[in-house]
């Protein structure tokens, strides 16, 4: 086995998790290779220390925070707070769906507005050289559309 493959197996070997044949191969290599033997010893110290390390305990203040939140949860909540808490896990999806619905609704609304829907319809008797300029006839002269009509030379 090559050095890097042996070193990958060292932790498993230290914990006795290797199959017997593989474990024997690692043991033989360590007996013959000072570098791998030294690294194995260092790993044994580090890994042993990790396994013996005591549990990390929380600060005393954590209990007060938790009990305060739990007691807050016991108080009656408004329907809005309850609803927001209920959708919290899927709030991103809910916001995306709401945005899509808003865009679709806005599109439908704009499509149904009479002045705009008429402006987008081509006149039945053919088109002028500048597309559907006839649809600007409803625009007052002082408006942007009216100025455009005047500049283009189209008579009203």
């Amino acid at each position: 086995m090559k050095h890097d493959k042996i070193q990958t197996k060292l932790l498993l070997w230290l914990d006795g998790d290797l199959a017997p044949a593989e474990g024997d191969e690692v043991r033989r290599h360590i007996a013959e290779c000072p570098d791998c033997a030294a690294r194995s010893a260092a790993l044994a110290v580090a890994w042993g220390g990790a396994k013996r390390s005591p549990r990390v305990k929380p600060d005393p203040g954590l209990r007060a925070r938790i009990m305060a939140e739990v007691e807050r949860a016991e108080r009656p909540q408004s329907w809005l707070a309850v609803w927001l808490a209920a959708i919290a896990p899927v709030r991103f999806q809910a916001a995306t769906a709401a945005a899509v619905l808003l865009c679709v609704g806005l599109g439908i609304y704009l499509g149904n507005v009479p002045s705009i829907s008429q402006a987008s319809t081509r006149p039945a008797g053919g088109s002028s050289a500048i597309g559907n300029l006839d649809s600007f006839r409803d625009f007052p002269p002082e408006s942007v559309g009216g100025v455009f009509v005047q500049l283009s030379g189209t008579t009203r």
């Binding site: 070193q7 932790l11 998790d17 260092a42 220390g49 005591p54 990390v56 929380p58 209990r63």
Partner: protein, 188 residues
Amino acid sequence: MRDTDVLNQERAAGLAGFAEIYEAHKAMVFNVCFRMAGDWHEAEDLAQEVFVKAYRAMDRLRGEAKASTWLYRIAVNACLNHQRRKQRVRWLSLDFLFESRSETEVGLPASEQSPFDELTQRETETLVQDAVNSLPLNQRAALVLQVYEGLSYEEIAAVMKCSVASVDSRLHRAKENLARRLVPQLRK
């Protein structure tokens, strides 16, 4: 409508029972959260989330054989979800392009060793914790439960709701990945 006094008594009994559960399992839950997150403040937030979830689901606890298995499960799931959210935020913000590896300060209580030995031990513990932090999430969870909590393969399988064979596979890969990372960094 039920009498307010009866409701208040039930509520007080529930809170008292919950406080007992907290005292009995706070070290276990916090240790799992710290070893999974690698950060003290994140561990506190996660532990708070775990216990609040546990309080809300206390009725379900009455049907569980062991409160510890149930709490381990809530803790591991909360930690996994937290790490996945962090990874999503990191990808979206492109922070991963500018990150440099930072060491995790392991807040263990002071020992009676000499200052030099204590520094060496802390450095080693930090190296190991950093290596654990680099593991894929499922491997990290299995390793934390086995190494830092001393759970058996069967207990880990019950917590992670997977087969013992899956636990074995995750631990095997976790230890290979840890060795791959630790061995080049350890002094001879």
